[in-house]
Structure formats: C-alpha cells, structure tokens
C-alpha cells in the first residue's frame, strides 16, 4: 500500500538512481544532497513527503533529511516556478551594472528577487558570485548561464520563458 503511494510521488527511475547513489559512499547519509537534488529535478522542489521518501530510501530519519535540506539555499523546500532565474548581485557583477539588470528583470516579471510570479512561471533569485565574473553581469536561467547582460537582454530572456 505504502509502496504505491511512494510510487506516485517519485518515478521508479528516480528511486533507482537514489538507491544507486548510495553505493558511491561508505555511509548512506552522504547521498542525502544528491538524492534531494534528484528529487528536485523531478518535482521542481522538495515537499515534506519527498523528504520522508528520501529518508526511507537511505534509511535515515526524516528529521535528519529535513535538517540538512534546510541548510542549503538551492534545496527548495517551498514550491518554485517552472523556471528558476538566478541573478548574480555580487561585487564583480555589481561593478558591471547588475543593479540595473535586476531592476529591469524585476519590472519585467512584476516580482522582487526572492519571489515567484503569480502564474508560477518564474522564480527570481538574487544570488552570490556564480564564478562567471568574466561574463558579468550574468545570470543562470535554469541550467544555462547568460552574460554579459544588458538590462534589455535580460528582460527579453525572462520574457521568453514559457
């Protein structure tokens, strides 16, 4: 019974991958972060039931999983939009106009950094140095990096996301 409920949450493929991750480490807990990220790839975020499932797959109390999850800013413990935009606001980008880019993108989306558009299309995050200061000002749109950006180019990129 419970197995079927679990199946509804995560695909069999994801579960198999999480179990395979375990084998990479002598201690199962090491697989927590990769497992949570795998969940996130599938669901967009990590709901409490998914933490419980990761706990079951790795033989860990759900409290341990939750405590770890809450520490890391890129484990989303609340729902996010279909697209996640990470806009760098650290020094090198700041020196190259990141504030204007941020303002323009916020205006385009109608939300502030840290928020999600009401239609759940985009979550906008202001983040620290992306180690791409040669492309400042820059941002990540999901897994792709863009830069150097003008405010207009950045606005166009987020506008085109479906």
């Amino acid at each position: 019974m419970r197995l079927r409920e679990e199946g509804a949450l995560l695909s069999e493929g994801a579960k198999r991958e999480i179990e395979a991750l375990r084998a990479r480490y002598p201690v199962a807990q090491s697989a927590v972060l990769p497992a949570l990220l795998r969940v996130q790839e599938e669901l967009g975020w990590v709901p409490p039931e998914a933490m419980a499932e990761v706990g079951r797959l790795l033989d860990l109390p759900v409290e341990v999983v939750a405590e770890v999850a809450s520490f890391y800013s890129l484990i989303f413990t609340e729902p996010v939009g279909r697209h996640v935009v990470q806009l760098c606001t650290n020094v090198s980008c700041l020196l190259s106009g990141a504030e204007a880019v941020r303002e323009r993108v916020e205006r385009e989306l109608g939300v502030r950094a840290g928020q999600t558009t009401p239609d759940r299309r985009v979550t906008l995050l202001a983040v620290e140095c992306l180690a791409a200061c040669d492309q400042a000002p820059c941002m990540l749109v999901n897994e792709r990096r863009y830069g150097p950006l003008t405010p207009e180019a950045a606005a166009r990129l987020v506008k085109e996301l479906d």
């Binding site: 697989a31 020196l95 400042a136 990540l140």
Partner: protein
Amino acid sequence: MPQPVLLRHVREPDQADLHAYERRGGYAALRRALRELSPEQVTDLVDRAQLRGRGGAGFPTARKWRFVPKDAPVKYLVVNADEGEPGTFKDRTLLEGDPHLLVEGIALAAYANDVRTAYVYMRREFYQARRQLERAIAQAYERGYLGQGILGTEFSLDVYVHPGAGSYIAGEETALLESLEGKRAMPRLKPPYFPAVMGLYSKPTVLNNVETLCCVPWIVREGPEWWLEQGPPQLYSVSGHVNSPQVVEAPLGTTARELIERAGGIRGGRQVKAFYPGGTSSRPLSARHLDVPLRHEELAKLGSMLGSAAVIVMDETTDMVKVIARVCEFYREESCGKCTPCREGTVWVTQILDRILHGRGRPEDLDLLESLARNMTGTCFCPLGESVPPSLRAGLEDFRDEFEAYIRAAREPVQMPVRLHLGAPAPGG
C-alpha cells in the same frame, strides 16, 4: 610572452575530448608516473616545483600530502570544485575547457597518496562544468585511466562527482567534508579535524583545489625545473572595471598593473581607485599598490593575501562604501551561524553600513565599525568571519573620506552624493 601552460588548450573546442587531450600530450604524465615513478617520487616532484595550494590558503601541496599517514588502510582524495570566493572563476574555466587535465591530476594525486576513492565536490551552479567533467571521467574509465588496474598496473581508482547545493561556507575544507558526509556545512574544529589525519569519515584525506591538481600533470610531465622556469604559472581571475574580464595566466608575482593591462585596461580609460588582490576575503588595496608583486609574501606584508588570486578592479568612480557594504552582506548571508562573533558581527556591521549608505549614518559609526573589526579578528571559529575585518579596515584607513562624506551628507540631505556609476540604487534602498 611565453606560451601559457594551465590555459594552453582551454580554448580548443575539442579539448574536452579524450583523443584530442591525448593528442596534445595528455595522460603522458600518468603513464610516466605509473611506469617509472614511485608515489614518493611524484610527491618529490611536486615538492621541488614548490607548488602551493590555489584554493585560498596557499599551503605547500607536497607538505600537505606528506601529513597523510602512509600506513593508513583507507584514505580519500577530495577535490574542492566549490569555487565560491567572489571574483574567482579560474576553476570553472579549467573544468569547462580542459576537464581531462583535472582527471589526470586527480589520478596522479591519488597515486602519490595511495588513494583508491576520490570525490569531486562541485558547486551546483556548475552545470556545464559538471557535464564536461562527467563525460571526461566516463571516457577515462573506458580507456583504462580510471577504474580497476589502471594501465595494467595494480593501481585502482574510482572518481565520483558530488554536488553542493548553494553554500559558500561549504568551500571551507572541513565544512566541505561535513557536507560530503551529508550534513550541514559547518566547519570542524582543527585540531583534531585536520583533513590529512582525520578527514572524510574520520579517515586521512587529501583535499586540494581544482587548479592545484591541474598543475600536477604538467609538473610530472615536464619536470619541476621547467615548471619554475614558466613563472611558475599562476591563474589570476581578473574582473570588475576592466575591458575584457578574463582568467589571466601569468608568472606568480605579476603586478596588478600588468594584469589589468592583460585584461584590456580600465574601461573608459579611467584610473584605478582600488583592487581586491585575492577575492573579497583579502584586504582591498589602493592604486598606490598597483606595482606590488601579487605573491603570498608581499601581500601578507600589506595585511592582505593572495587568496584565490581573484583580482577585482575598481575604477576612480567606484563607491567604496557601497562595495564594502555589499561584501559584508555577502559574509552575513553566508555565515553558517556556528559562532557568535561572525553570526552577530556580520549583522551589526551590515546594519551600520546600511544606515550610512541610506543617509542615516552617525559620526560615531566609524568608531563602531572599527571596534567591530577588532572584535571579529582572531575570535571567529573559521576564516569566513575573519574575512570581514580586512575590507572594513581598508575602508576606514584608505577610503575614510568616502564614509565621512556619506555621514556629513546625512546631516545635509540636499548634498547626498549622487553616484550613478554602480547603477541605480537597489529597490527598497
């Protein structure tokens, strides 16, 4: 200008491919080491090349390797690919452009230290770098450079890429090991937790930065004398107000003036006001230090450091109060909260800087900042908290007039300095 070494092939479009890497001399060092050299001899070469860690602390690599107890049955190699120090992007450049160089460096370091399992801890945002490295690892397995009985010898090695999830402190070596063990990334107490003796899963662990390990194949292949003759090669990440921000490979000890020139000079033909020589954790220097060789010793004398060799250049129009406030905010955001001086100190410092920036500064604020800098020095549990005072001190000593101008203007609101160069003020600001 001599040919670059570490960056020699990063821009070749096919360099990430195993055959191209081999054609350009790749894996010759690993073959040579496995055939002709004992593990100790590999460490000796690294020692004679005087290689120092490129992750920030600048610790001599061979010395670090020799701390690892030889007779320990289980040891690990952990590669720090978390590259989070603001202004630093050289590890990403190596990973994206020449991933096999790192794989070969990992194999050599593992051989030298009798390690059978290596983990590459890579920040989550490195999607492209991760794809490149995972492909290189898979190719290396197929070709027998990794896995069981490498190149027909008894040496075996498994390499795994492990993702971070958005935490700067996870780049600190003991916090990284906590994170790799599936815990919150909080630093461990040293001693007893020196990674070389009590590292991952309490086993002896060699922990090195990406660039550090990328130096090793070259040292083994061409020899330490050759390596030293090349500079030794050092990667400087040059960014900020330069025309072409880029990773510049130059001999260790190159001046900021030369690096700025290599990065296309200052935008708009302006003058330099200041620069961070080693990421935002180093003390920023002013234009009068443009001719200082950027090396560990010289920078230490100035109360600064080479750190990750991230040179962030700021021109004469830069608002230093704003930059320093942003830097301190970064440390507040990334503080892990384990110790009070850092957790609370970063909050106080940023509150004061914020009110100065927003026209509510008080004359006594500068003394307050000074005493906070004092109280955060030598009291923090790890170097993250200690990264705040260098910026504050530079601000109060070298750019004091800018802070005072803000505070003066606070009392005469009409004369608030207008500085457009950094872009419009942040919303809500």
